[in-house]
């Protein structure tokens, strides 16, 4: 078993003292970030990425992946205790988690959430271990045209499946790509879009500037506005006996949890979908297949198990395209991908050949992160409930300072810090008008890659656009992308057709 050999090597890397310490620290920090209302994995990873320059790249990504994981566990805590989702990925957990807490079963809800997260995480990491190497092997044969087609597919999923306003989604993709084009033209070497020779634009706009602006400053402005008013924290009695009792009950929800895990994993692979829709879908399916659908929304533990297993599984799923194809499966993995570029690791299938220790160390650390997140979560439930009482007027300014100083660190240019503030304010104002911002972050990360691969492919074909549709692999991918781009149009036509049919039933 070649995979097992690789995995064992990976464990040897993940269990090095520094890396193991980073996993544990990352999980604890992730749980904290996830538990804070308004902060999720993407905010934590964006704001803390500059801090990881302290450790080698493998350690850095292990740390950030552990935060990603921990945040998925932590999101459930505020969903259950406050009835406010700790992150958008934990929205579905409030449906049954909150009623359970109000009925005095907060501890059981928390334990169910943690255990379901563990199952979801573990099932999906096993699936990941099995799927990743063959997919990477196939992707090794991809050329410029295929790369470009994959990126088109990634953007198309936002339009076809994202569910946001179509022109606003497209605008977000376009502006992200334009921002990525600022700086020196990669082929001719000429400066472009530097706005009257402002030297700060010469080195381009780093994706982190946009990510910290939107997910740091912008998100905080949003949370400050929406978190006014008092919230009520439920009480949870946590004793060893009650924990064991909850764990025993958990096996009754095994089927639901497994369903959530597998569903979440596959939904997570799609760039536009990810953990939030994945957990909502898992909740819906759990309700449909349940023998007592009417008990959902009134405190059914299965309604906690399904979305929590799905959101953890989705976070692993979103790493699959990031590592094998170089296409991020979620905004958080988009930031991880950008980080890999900073650390000098070319994302894509070659990683599995040239940086095996990095890839397998990361995969093994995901197994470890799951175990630690579960242990820390269950052992320190009272501590995380205390965290929820932390006043936002202390946390918010500290996060602002972290954004400013962290944003300065990578390029050491005040110009970038001003841009972070501008993007943050703009992002906040745009978000209030329902402009989706995740596509822009994905686009600024993928932009340079998309432009290079498009220009290379066009050069090889002498400007023939059809090259993307004619090659055996890129063709079907492009056609899928086009179908996804047009999907909203089909839906609209179908709705119109139905409406007209309903208007004159005789016709």
């Amino acid at each position: 078993m070649e995979i097992l050999d690789h995995l064992l090597q990976g464990f040897a890397i993940a269990f090095q003292p520094l890396n193991l310490g980073l996993v544990i620290f990352g999980c604890a920090l992730g749980l904290f970030i996830g538990a804070m209302p308004g902060l999720g994995s993407v905010n934590g990873v964006a704001i803390l990425l500059p801090m990881t320059f302290l450790v080698p790249p493998t350690g850095a990504i292990i740390f950030l992946a552990a935060i990603y994981y921990g945040a998925m566990y932590g999101g459930a805590i505020s969903s259950i205790m406050l009835g406010i989702p700790g992150a958008s990925t934990a929205v579905a957990t409030t449906f049954d988690g909150r009623p359970m807490a109000l009925q005095g079963q907060a501890d059981q809800a928390l334990i169910t959430a943690a255990t379901a997260s563990f199952v979801g995480g573990t099932v999906s990491v096993v699936l990941f271990t099995l799927f990743a190497p063959p997919l990477a092997a196939v992707a090794l044969a991809f050329g410029a045209a295929e790369e470009f087609a994959l990126m088109m597919l990634a953007f198309a999923t936002f339009v076809g499946l994202g569910g946001d306003d179509i022109p606003k989604t497209l605008f977000s993709i376009f502006i992200g790509l334009v921002l990525s084009a600022v700086g020196l033209d990669i082929i001719s070497g000429q400066p472009r879009l530097i706005f009257g020779d402002i030297t700060g634009f010469m080195h381009g706009i780093n994706f982190l500037v946009l990510a910290i602006g939107i997910y740091g400053i912008g998100e905080m402005l949003w949370t400050i506005e929406s978190s006014k008013g008092e919230v009520k924290i439920s009480q949870a009695t946590v004793t060893v006996g009650r924990v064991m009792d909850s764990l025993r009950k958990f096996k009754n929800y095994g089927k639901t949890t497994l369903m959530g895990s597998v569903l979440g994993y596959f939904v997570g692979i799609l760039p536009a979908a990810g953990a939030t829709p994945g957990s909502l879908m898992a909740y819906g399916v759990a309700k449909t297949i349940s023998k007592h659908p009417e008990s959902f929304g009134k405190g059914n533990p299965e309604g906690v198990a399904a979305p929590e297993s799905a959101n953890n599984a989705a976070s692993t799923g979103s790493m699959l395209p990031m590592l094998t194809l170089g296409i991020p499966g979620s905004p958080t993995t988009a930031i991880l991908l950008g980080g890999m570029v900073i650390w000098g690791l070319e994302p894509g299938p070659l990683l599995f050949v040239e940086h095996q220790e990095f890839v397998w160390g990361l995969i093994a650390s995901l197994y470890a992160a799951n175990v630690f997140s579960l242990l820390i979560n269950v052992a320190f439930i009272p501590a995380f409930i205390w965290v929820l009482r932390l006043p936002f007027t202390i946390l918010a300014p500290l996060i602002f300072v972290l954004c400013i100083v962290g944003g300065y660190a990578p390029t050491q240019d005040m110009h970038d810090v001003w841009l972070i503030l501008i993007f943050g304010v703009a992002g906040y104002l745009l978000r209030k008008l329902d402009y989706p911002l995740a596509p822009a972050v994905l686009a600024i990360v993928l932009g340079p890659l998309a432009e290079t691969s498009m220009r290379q492919a066009l050069l090889q074909s002498n400007g023939e656009m059809m090259v993307f549709f004619q090659r055996p692999i890129s063709g079907p991918i492009m056609i899928t992308a086009v179908v996804l781009f047009l999907l909203p149009l089909f839906k609209l036509l179908k709705a119109r057709w139905r409406a007209s049919k309903a208007a004159n039933p005789g016709a």
Binding site: M51, F53, L54, D165, I166, P167, K168, L170, F171, F174, I175, L177, V178, A181, D185, I187, S188, Q190, R192, L193, F195, I217, M220, L221, I224, E225, K228, P391, T393, I394, A396, P397, L398, F400, V401, I404, V405, Y408, A409, Q412, M414, V417, W418, L421, V425, Y428, L429, L430, K432, L433, D434, E451, M454, R455, Q456, L458, L459, G463
Partner: protein, 165 residues
């Protein structure tokens, strides 16, 4: 809400047109043996942005998007006040960083925010305001060797560098 949507789409539309015009400073057509010119990629993308803005305006006038039907206010008085306070204090902090450096600007910002906006006690406020720059100094300057901007306070740090570096 409708007015905000209209203004935003117009502002973004003007921005798109400006970006198109700036991109066109580089060749946007096909250069033989070199492929598309350096300006082509941003030019056509900005054109796409402009098209999206027109589309958003069209949907606004036809009332076919959810925002264009909303009767909520975009930002009420409270939201505007809070937004201006936070964004304003951040701007002042950045300006101060240029003059007196990070190590003076951030404690001032923290003091202002926690004491006057949060109404926390002087003790907790000042502890955090003093501890934050110290932690930042050791993390960035000592561990990462990244010098944060210090403005006129630069000379005060020379003895610290002598001790720790």
């Amino acid at each position: 809400m409708r007015r905000a949507e209209f203004v935003m789409a117009c502002v973004l539309g003007v921005l798109s047109a400006y970006l198109m015009w700036k991109s066109a400073e580089l060749p946007i057509g096909w250069i033989p043996k070199e492929g598309p010119g350096g300006g082509a990629f941003p030019f056509w993308l900005s054109a796409g942005m402009l098209a999206c803005c027109l589309w958003i305006l069209l949907r606004l006038f036809r009332r076919s998007s959810s925002v264009s039907r909303s009767t909520d206010t975009y930002m009420d008085r409270d939201a505007v006040r809070l937004f201006l306070l936070v964004a304003g204090s951040l701007t002042v902090m950045l300006l101060l960083i240029h003059v007196v450096g990070v190590y003076v600007a951030t404690p001032l910002f923290l003091l202002f925010y926690m004491r006057f906006m949060g109404g926390h006690r002087w003790f907790s406020t000042s502890t955090i305001a003093v501890a934050t720059p110290i932690v930042a100094f050791f993390f960035f300057e000592i561990a990462l060797h990244i010098t944060l901007p210090k403005g006129v306070t630069e000379p005060f740090f020379y003895p610290l560098y002598d001790i720790f570096l």
